[in-house]
């Protein structure tokens, strides 16, 4: 009886799969892409437990167990990079996560379409310019005879050079990140706010609710599930995108390595410019990936505890 049912369901499954044959064909390139470029390297993390030799590659290099991880404990450069990664990504989360929400609320305060459009157009623009170009612009306007120092000197202040100053380099990273992304990041919240039924606002206004009450009781409930999902995404990706290689690599220089070198820049420099051991460098990367995953799980759990829908 039971086996008969099984035969029938498996036959049904086969039939459904056959009906979807073109869809499998369509999804195949994407699956191959992920297999090659995402899961291939994931298998490659086994290198973290091997000692790399060029002839053997990922498969053929000999196993050495946890030796690389033991070495990590005493690697001062790794400690600096790790500490910087945590500080920079945490600060960016604290500063650059709430800003787009505030911006979206401020922009949404305008009932005038043209003003909304104008602010969005200007504030979103830098997102489409590459970090290479933005870093070039930053370097030039902050240079000795750049416009920032020209203004400072006209008003009698001393010139500044935040790009090579350990105290101001990190704030410069937070600020320039905001410059590029705040407008872009606010779009999703604006979309959430636009999805709120305008009748709710009108009803509240009839009842005499002021701006802050409407914000608290209509706008915030309307956007908080979006905020929750994005918080999880941001926490899960903070070590990669927060301590962004492309931004930092294009802005930093040796005087600020002590405060600016992050895990990704450390791996790149040591592997490709100094010639460090690939197995060891894989171990460094693996630590970061594992912590990212843990952060994602923790954020998801907290958000779910708070009664919001999580990512999974």
């Amino acid at each position: 009886m039971q086996s008969g049912e099984k035969v029938r369901t498996s036959r049904n499954l086969w039939k459904t799969m056959l009906q979807h044959k073109y869809f499998y064909l369509m999804v195949l390139p994407v699956l191959i892409w992920y297999a090659l470029f995402a899961y291939g390297p994931m298998y490659g993390v086994t290198l973290a437990f091997k000692t790399f030799d060029y002839s053997g590659g990922i498969w053929g290099s000999p196993w050495i167990g946890f030796e690389h991880f033991q070495k990590l404990w005493s690697d001062a450069d790794f400690h600096t990079a790790f500490k910087n990664t945590i500080i920079i990504s945490l600060m960016k989360l604290l500063i650059n996560f709430p800003m787009p929400i505030i911006l979206a609320i401020l922009i949404n305060e305008f009932s005038r379409k043209t003003a909304k459009r104008f602010f969005q157009t200007v504030l979103t623009f830098p997102h489409f310019i590459s970090w290479v170009v933005l870093a070039g612009i930053i370097t030039i306007i902050l240079s000795r005879d750049g416009v920032v120092n020209q203004v400072l000197m006209v008003f009698g202040f001393d010139p500044i050079s935040p790009l090579t100053d350990s105290d101001s380099f990190r704030p410069l990273l937070y600020f320039t990140h905001m410059w590029r992304e705040v407008g872009w990041d606010s779009i999703i919240y604006l979309a959430a706010l636009a999805g709120i039924n305008p009748e709710l606002y009108e009803a509240a206004e009839m009842d005499g609710a002021n701006r802050f009450k409407r914000l608290l009781h209509i706008a915030w409930p309307g956007m908080k599930s979006t905020v929750a999902i994005l918080l999880i995404l941001h926490v899960g990706q903070m070590l990669t995108q927060g301590a962004s290689f492309v931004q930092i690599f294009n802005l930093y220089s040796s005087p600020v390595y002590g405060v600016a070198d992050v895990v990704d820049t450390y791996i790149y420099r040591t592997s490709f410019q100094v010639g460090g051991d690939f197995g060891y460098m894989t171990a460094v990367g693996l630590i970061k990936s594992v912590i990212s995953l843990v952060l994602l799980v923790v954020a998801n759990t907290i958000v779910k505890r708070m009664g919001e829908e999580g990512l999974y």
Binding site: V45, F119, V133, G136, S143, A191, L293
Partner: protein, 298 residues
């Protein structure tokens, strides 16, 4: 409704004005660096060197542009970038559209498993070294294809496109199916035409990404004949004064006029940003809608 209208007529409250001022200042700070780039790129050396503070376009001189546009390295990099952008958009769109459409089919056995595997890659990766070794094994080091294929799929876009296709009514496909059309035919002849603006927006997103491609070139391309514009930009802007000095020297030799080196850098920025400026209005018009439709969870 009437109440809001009445309020609008009343004009601006102090709060409104405060918000305007904040957003106005923010816009000014955001925009000013780009304005500064533009005015310096067209500044005359003699004029700019007389000023302690140069905030207005007081002179007009296209020497910097002429110098950049007559540099062979600029053109070879620009051509590489154009090739990468065109081929990259075609590749990315071909696999994202078909993949996203298939993944939007809830009845397809194995779909949830595939989606989980895809989403997982957003939060966990093998890291730079294993990735480098895989690319090397595939023969993509120093190969222009590295900026097209491995760089060519954005998981976030794929998910948004999948969610969008999921919102289309099934009735669109049913009648064509009754006529015996297969799913590929339906995608290309029915779904794509009605989704054209949405699809075009993502084509532009990919185009901007490929135009700005730098990371793959930094890691995988060392042959200078194959480097893209962003590498050239980095050399002119950040790393190499040598390139700049050569360019300035060439200009001095040919015109016997002095070139302000920051003007050369700024002119490179302006020239390389023209394509982005051209597509920006279209992007701006559609991206809000695009993201609205494909909210993150679907």
């Amino acid at each position: 409704m009437k109440l809001t209208e009445a309020k609008k007529k009343k004009g601006l409250s102090p709060f409104d004005i405060a918000v305007y001022i904040v957003l106005g200042l923010l816009s000014l700070i955001t925009f000013f660096p780009f304005y500064n780039v533009l005015i310096i790129s067209i500044a005359k050396f003699e004029v700019i060197s007389q000023h302690n503070l140069y905030l207005l376009p007081l002179s007009f001189d296209l020497t910097a542009y002429k110098v950049i546009l007559s540099d062979g390295k600029f053109w070879s990099s620009a051509i590489n970038t154009v090739i990468v952008t065109v081929a990259g958009v075609l590749f990315s769109m071909a696999i994202s559209v078909t993949g996203a459409y298939a993944l939007s089919k809830k009845g397809m056995p194995g779909r949830n498993g595939m989606l989980t595997l895809i989403l997982f890659t957003m939060f966990f990766n093998g890291g730079l070294i294993p990735f480098y070794l895989i690319i090397k094994d595939l023969g993509l080091v120093n190969n222009i294809l590295v900026m097209i294929i491995p760089a060519g799929l954005n998981t976030f876009y794929l998910i948004i496109m999948k969610n969008y296709f999921g919102t289309l009514p099934e009735s669109l496909e049913e009648s064509a199916k009754l006529d015996g059309a297969n799913d590929l035919y339906i995608l290309f002849k029915i779904i794509l035409p009605i989704s054209a603006p949405f699809i075009a927006t993502f084509g532009l997103f990919y185009a901007v990404e490929r135009w700005n491609e730098w990371w793959y070139a930094l890691i995988f391309i060392s042959d200078s004949a194959k480097t893209p514009l962003q590498i050239y930009l980095r050399e002119t802007l950040i790393t190499s004064n040598q390139l700049l000095n050569t360019l300035a020297q060439q200009a001095a030799d040919s015109d016997s006029s002095k070139v302000y080196t920051p003007a050369l850098q700024m002119a490179t920025i302006v020239i390389s940003s023209v394509p982005i400026l051209m597509v920006y209005p279209f992007l701006q018009k559609h991206f809000a809608k695009g993201i609205l439709v494909g909210s993150i969870k679907g």
